[in-house]
Amino acid sequence: MNRRCRFALVCFIVVFLCVILRLFYWQVVRADELVSLGQAQYGDNIQITGQRGEIETADGFSLAANQLNYTVFANPKEVENDDLTANALSPILQVDSASISALLSLDRFWVSLSPAVTNDTKNEIDKLKLPGVGFEEKYTRFYPEASMAATLLGFVGKDANGEDQGYFGLEGFYDRQLKGKSTYETQINDAFGRPILAKLENFSGDTAGRTLVLHIDRAVQYMMEDELQKGMQLYGAQSVTAAAIDPKTGGIIAMASLPSFDPRTYQDYSDDLFLNPFISDTYEPGSTFKPLVMATAIDKGLVTPYTKCNICSGPVPIGGYEIHTWNDEYAPNIDMIHVIQDSDNTGMTFVGEKLGLSGMEDVLQRFGFNDLTGIDLQGEGGSDIKSTDNWYPIDVATSSFGQGIAVTPIQLLTAFASLANDGKRMEPHVVDKIITSDGQTIVIPPKVLGQTVSMQTARVMNEILVNAVNNGEASFARLKGYRIAGKTGTAQIPVAGHYDPTKTIASFIGYAPADDPKFVMLVIVNRPTSSIYGSETAAPIFFSLAQRMLNYYGIAPTE
């Protein structure tokens, strides 16, 4: 009897062990597989991809928004008549009917007939009631102002996985902020496949990308592009670029470059147009650099506005070279006010000699030419300045009037803006604030990068620059009644070790109103053909735009 009981016990133990092992197999070894199988039976896995965040100008207008589009697809196995379907779709999709027919003849369940059509086109196709033809909703980037601020915005393309990816400008720099989050959620269904009242598991609802609100003023941006367009045609320039900055905050009010591209059809344009020349390209700043050198010399007490130049009676010989003025006219004993007014290279050589090599290093250091400005745009380039260890006396002389060094326009604009802000150099910023999908606002505060010169020096330079506008080469174009500070520049273009005698980069940098600057602006005209001088090309564009901006801001003349 005991033996029978023991046998029965062993049998029970074996059976239970089998059950335990089987349960372990199902619940541990194949757990994931069965969970997903179960989920597939009672619900759908839905991929929820948040919309990309928008990019708004300071007035709340979306420069980059999202547009509802549809992918037109077909299931060839459900299409009843290939030719009839192809002929009906061809004029609407503007695709050759033979191409559509070829797609419909494939042995597949899904073929894409058009990647993105508008809602109107979708409705038009819907009316045809074609069997086997369907639509898939998707959002694509939409730029309501077309190519306005294109180099500033960048564009949205695809990454290696076919996901949206921002490239260049703001779309590239803030891609992670703008990108909506992708999450997978489970919607529980009843036996008929209808959703039932059950929460979407782990669904937070917070998938949309963040919205960027810019310092960019849409009206000023429009005016800038309009004036640049006119200027480029009028002066026969190869390209033009400009930007305006608020000197007190470092906020970029407008930034434009022409020729440009349409971010929606970026594939149709040359890659060269995608880079923003205002932040990526370097050029020799020429005479627009002179005020910075002069400001440093005044700040260090090496010269005053009334210091006389004692080497300016003729060409200045240095290290086997001769420094000439731009028009080969010389003014003995010229003072520093007139050196800037007349853009006198020999006068600047005099200032350069006073500063010496260490002084010029100091100019580059305090105005930030050795570093990137930190602007929040993808693709910022650095200056091209050879190490001062390898400088010769001629390098000190030429750099004092902006030759032999290459800087980016944004570096020059930021540096010059410090003179309009009592010597405080601000970090340039395009984005003012970021709005999260749950409505929180993250404000990006202005950042002071350093003190370039003292407040007193900045105010002295202000008067010198106002005088340069009123009495310098560009005085014919100045705005009557306004005090505007500024300086022209005509930079030569180095080609194969020498300067091209016929081509220049003409520029004008300035700010208005001089006593309480609302904006600092740099206009660069690349290789103008009607005149090579900044005073005859960039300056008129600057003043024409400044007039419109002053009117827009409601700033009345003071003189």
Partner: protein
């Protein structure tokens, strides 16, 4: 003994009430899926319409569009401005 019958009757009543409540609730919720489905369709439809309208508003209020419309209508940019450089003698009482 009567006490036990009362308790038993009470328990049966509670069970019956719970069954009735269960049936009522189940019935009322059984159509929830259909309503939810309809609501989701409606939400989706409204979101689409909203998106299309937003796009239209942006297109029509873009400066590019406004400028072209203004040019078509014959408007020209204002070249001059009027500013009052001296204060007017309003409420001046020496």
């Amino acid at each position: 003994m009567k006490k036990y019958y009362l308790i038993l009757a009470g328990l049966i009543t509670v069970i019956l009430l719970l069954i009735i409540a269960n049936i009522t609730l189940s019935n009322s919720m059984s159509t929830g899926g259909i309503e939810l489905s309809q609501l989701q369709l409606k939400l989706h439809d409204l979101q689409m319409q909203n998106s299309i309208l937003e796009e239209k508003v942006l297109s029509l209020s873009s400066y590019t569009h406004i400028a072209s419309q203004a040019a078509t209508l014959g408007f020209t940019p204002e070249k001059t401005q009027l500013s009052l450089s001296t204060p007017l003698p309003l409420a001046y009482n020496p």
